[in-house]
């Protein structure tokens, strides 16, 4: 099954935010602050204004009127407000916007805007600034048993400090917004993972009713979390459009993608563990701190793995943030889990080496029978099977466990494993379905497709429930006027929106069945509705496909132009189950013995992700997650010059991401199965899960190859010299 939107994407016809052709549109370019902390003392726009084609420059000096009604955001604090004061809070903060008739002129004019500052020395270094406790209720101290006592009396105690660099999402599509006002109504074509969130925030910022804002986002050129918030440039585009009375297009530059659209924060994470000689964990303590802005306290799900992954009787966790003169981070693929997994899963490898136990065996010895943090049964937990299947396919039994034991010319060869795990996060969604007299159906929900395959997988679910061939079903998304759906984040779309689509299409099918069994002229007349099924565009008696009729005939005979239904789904309030997806990640690397260069030779992921709706697309996601993890493990590192808070490598030539030559053949295997305790369509989570164990598997392989334990990400050549 190929992607239903494939043809649009390979012919250049899929319309991303900046691609929409809006009549009379003019171009906006943001002017960024060139200091990281201080006050704006003046903005000289004379040279810019004098340029032919410049329509205007807006800054806080113009006192633009914005309501900024309360609208609870994801993080405690006070959201950044556009052009409302003279304060500079981080390097690259938008301080003005230039609008011109052409992009070339707007870019040139933005360069000509002279901003002067009373600059102060910024603090941007996580390790040199005071930490505060993480924001309640999202981050809270956790204790079970007595971890300190257990550490003190453990056979083996290990204390490690790990450091993870800041990463930027860097989707290929830079953030872009086109805004148009029609009277008091605002339409935006935006890159977003949450059309309703963008609608609500714009309504709050501009002080207008939510129904006066429409957000359209039919295609999203990757996001990985950075389009989950309504960032300042969206407001700026709408503000400029309002002030000029013209539609305005604003696309961030790649450099600006490092300033205001979030990032995975840098961490310093201390982990201590205690174990018996036989490899039973007795204690783990987690002391973590990560960067946040001074105006908002970021949080992410960095505590769950430490509480539920292994059967550890004594655990303590302490989460702190370090407020700095930086912009606020944003959840990035596998948020929190990915960072914690690197630490925990590297530590497990360190313990395995210390005890001389195979790292897979060590993990299996600490497999819990129930969720150790809640005492709930797992809905499904097939991690053992993931490791068993993976070990066989990867050839794990051939491994010589001694570090630096395998060589291929100049290359030291090593293999490593790690566990991946991510929760089954469930939201609420609604959908609408309409079956037309020609036997085709249109189903819609205000969800998103950032490349995850939503168009395709929802079409499959709908076609299945309606008994229609896929080509006769169209699924629409990315419009705030559609029935509500949650953000495309936390891997919730398939389970949540999929279940709503199924409910909706079930209702529609039932309507058609009722119409048929009550219709004297139908071959199904008088049949028990429960005995009627749908398939191939027909309704027929279960087990007797000849007795039935097509939707087309049914609707035509009843003079119905269409049938329609609206459905929804929400999870049970208090599930009795602990619900997670699981992965076993295997990696083989080669490290140049003299140069320290790390090359990935092969990777294998085996996943317990519940039912897989679209195997071909799920494989793409898994392989893509490995590539993302390879980037985090070996390449990606946002470098800040702490003297002035400047990001040194704010471009794709210096912020290294994996390219084709970095990637060998990668393999993904999904265990057959489903999890109907999680949701009615049996799926668990997938998009985050596939990246989470990748970095530690690679780090552990580097250790096995070289005997060098690198506790900092990324693992660059200089760390191995």
């Amino acid at each position: 099954m190929s992607r239903v939107d494939g043809r649009l994407k390979v012919t250049g016809q899929a319309k991303y935010a900046a691609d929409h052709d809006i009549d009379g549109v003019v171009h906006a370019v943001v002017v960024d602050s060139s200091v990281a902390r201080g006050r704006i003392t003046g903005i000289d726009t004379r040279a810019a204004d004098a340029l032919h084609g410049v329509l205007g420059v807006i800054s806080h000096l113009d006192r633009p009127s914005l309501a900024y009604r309360d609208n609870p955001g994801p993080f405690p604090g006070r959201r950044l407000r556009v052009f409302q004061d003279d304060a500079v809070r981080f390097m690259g903060q938008p301080v003005a916007v230039v609008v011109a008739t052409t992009l070339e002129t707007a870019q040139h004019a933005a360069d000509l805007v002279k901003v002067s500052y009373a600059a102060e020395t910024p603090s941007t270094d996580l390790t040199r600034s005071p930490a505060v406790d993480g924001p309640a209720p999202f981050a809270r101290p956790y204790t079970r048993g007595d971890a300190q006592e257990a550490l003190g009396s453990a056979d083996v105690r290990m204390d490690m400090t790990y450091r993870l660099s800041r990463n930027h999402h860097n989707p290929m599509e830079t953030q872009a917004t086109i805004a148009r006002w029609d009277g008091g109504r605002l339409t935006v074509w935006d890159k977003t993972q949450h059309v309703l969130g963008t609608r609500n925030e714009l309504a709050a910022v501009f002080g207008i009713p939510q129904e006066n804002v429409r957000v359209l986002s039919p295609f999203v050129g990757g996001a990985f979390g950075n389009a989950l918030r309504t960032w300042p440039h969206v407001t700026i585009a709408a503000l400029a459009a309002r002030e000029l009375g013209r539609p305005v297009k604003l696309a961030l530059t790649r450099r600006q993608m490092y300033f205001t659209v979030g990032y995975r924060p840098a961490y310093e994470y201390k982990l201590s563990l205690g174990s018996t000689r036989r490899g039973r964990l007795t204690a783990m303590t987690h002391e973590m701190k990560y960067e946040t802005s001074r105006y908002e306290q970021f949080w992410e799900a960095n505590q769950a793995l430490g509480q539920m992954l292994y059967a550890v009787p004594n655990v303590s966790q302490h989460v702190q943030t370090v407020p700095l003169d930086v912009s606020t981070p944003m959840w990035m693929r596998g948020p929190g889990y990915g960072s914690a997994a690197f630490v925990i899963e590297t530590a497990m490898d360190e313990l395995a080496h210390e005890l001389g136990i195979d790292p897979i065996e060590l993990r299996l010895r600490n497999e819990p029978g129930e969720d150790p943090s809640t005492q709930q049964p797992f809905s499904t937990r097939r991690l053992r099977e993931c490791f068993r299947v993976g070990a066989r396919a990867f050839g794990w039994h051939r491994r010589d466990p001694r570090p630096r034991s395998t060589r291929d010319g100049d290359w030291l060869i090593g293999t490593g494993v790690a566990t991946g795990c991510y929760d089954v996060f469930l939201g609420q969604a609604e959908a609408h379905a309409r079956l037309d007299a020609d036997g085709t159906a249109v189903v819609q929900s205000a969800t998103h497709d950032t490349g995850t395959g939503t168009y395709t997988s929802m079409t499959q679910v709908a076609a299945d429930a309606l008994g229609l061939p896929m080509r006769q079903v169209t699924f629409r998304l990315g419009d705030s006027a559609m029935p509500p759906a949650p953000p495309q984040g936390a891997s919730q779309t398939m389970a949540t929106v999929g279940s709503a689509v199924q409910d909706t299409c079930d209702k529609l099918r039932q309507q058609a069945i009722t119409l048929a069994v009550e219709d004297e002229r139908s071959p199904l007349h008088g049949v028990d509705a429960d005995d009627v099924v749908a398939g191939g565009g027909r309704l027929h008696v279960k087990g007797a496909p000849a007795r039935g009729e097509t939707y087309r005939r049914l609707l035509a005979r009843n003079h119905r132009t269409h049938l329609e239904a609206r459905g929804s789904w929400a999870p049970e309030e208090n599930s009795r189950f602990s619900m997670y997806g699981y992965a076993a990640m295997f990696a083989e690397v080669a490290v140049d013995a003299r140069l320290g260069l790390v090359r990935v030779r092969r990777m294998l992921g085996v996943y317990d992700a519940g039912r897989i709706i679209s195997p071909k697309l799920a494989e793409s996601q898994a392989v893509g997650g490995m590539v993302g993890g390879i980037g985090a493990a070996l390449l990606e590192h946002t470098v800040t010059d702490h003297r002035d808070g400047r990001i040194v490598n704010a471009n794709l030539a210096d912020y290294l991401v994996p390219v084709n030559a970095d990637i060998p053949d990668l393999k993904a295997v999904y265990l057959d199965g489903e999890d109907y305790k999680a949701d009615p369509i049996g799926v668990k989570s997938l998009g985050e899960l596939v990246q989470i164990g990748v970095a530690p598997a690679l780090a552990n392989a580097v250790f096995h190859a070289t005997g060098r334990r690198v506790r900092n990400l990324p693992i660059t050549a200089e760390a191995l010299l």
């Binding site: 190929s2 939107d5 494939g6 043809r7 994407k9 390979v10 012919t11 250049g12 319309k15 991303y16 900046a18 052709d21 009549d23 009379g24 549109v25 204004d49 340029l51 032919h52 084609g53 329509l55 807006i58 113009d62 006192r63 008739t101 052409t102 070339e104 002129t105 989707p171 290929m172 599509e173 006002w181 002080g207 207008i208 999203v220 050129g221 990757g222 996001a223 309002r242 002030e243 000029l244 009375g245 013209r246 696309a251 530059t253 790649r254 490349g451 395959g453 071909k616 793409s620 392989v623 893509g624 590539v627 794709l652 991401v657 390219v659 084709n660 030559a661 970095d662 990637i663 053949d665």
Partner: protein, 212 residues
């Protein structure tokens, strides 16, 4: 003010695939006027009523370039990249801007049969050139074999880099750099895919090159 002069009258009607309304609008905007003032929902605009200081239009050049078989004679701002010409003047938004600095390949097109980063190519250098973009690759409804291979292999997810990947792949095949997966990887490394579809992109290029 006409910063974007209208296309030459000699260009045939089919040379204007995009809606002309935007260019027409801009071309007819009053010289030096402070265009369209007045906040729509919150009282007075931040802009004053005084006209902006009108000055000369930026230097432009007349260029004749063939895009997907259609000849366009246009006067362009000398700073206009081929990518911005395609996207903002000709309505061909299939070519994408990922970095505008030649580092990502999302804007890759063929110029006289060779793959180039259109973001780094100034339009004024292209007088007489023949440009092929993703929109010009299929033969009517018949997809180019590499377009079909990208669908078959699921060689994309979000699709944003796909136009550039495919145009680069066409170049890679034409150059004969498809002798092995390693060679394809090397010669496709100017095109970043952040969704991480490289394994499948290599398979798609192999499929198109060797009918695999």
């Amino acid at each position: 003010m006409s910063t974007e002069p209208p296309e030459s009258a000699e260009s045939p009607p089919e040379a204007s695939p995009s809606a002309p309304s935007r260019r027409t609008f801009i071309a007819t905007t009053a010289v030096g006027g402070a265009v369209a003032v007045g906040g729509l929902t919150s009282g007075p605009s931040v802009f004053g009523a005084e006209p902006a200081g009108a000055v000369e239009a930026p230097p432009g050049s007349r260029v004749s370039v063939t895009v997907n078989g259609v000849r366009h004679t246009v006067t362009v701002d000398n700073r206009t990249s081929l990518l911005d010409l395609l996207r903002e003047r000709l309505g061909l938004t299939g070519s994408k801007k990922g970095c505008n600095a030649g580092a990502c390949g999302a804007c890759t097109v063929l110029v006289d049969g060779r793959r180039v980063n259109s973001c780094l190519t100034l339009t004024v250098r292209l007088d007489g050139a023949d440009v092929t973009t993703i929109e010009g690759l299929a033969d009517g409804d018949q997809l180019h074999p590499l377009q079909q291979a990208f669908i078959d292999q699921d060689a994309f997810q979000c699709g944003y880099c796909t136009s550039g990947q495919i145009m680069s792949g066409v170049g890679c095949v034409q150059e004969g750099h498809t002798g092995s997966p390693e060679e394809i990887r090397e010669f496709m490394s100017g095109n970043i895919c952040r969704c991480g579809c490289y394994v499948k992109i290599v398979r798609a290029v192999e499929q198109a090159a060797h009918g695999k």
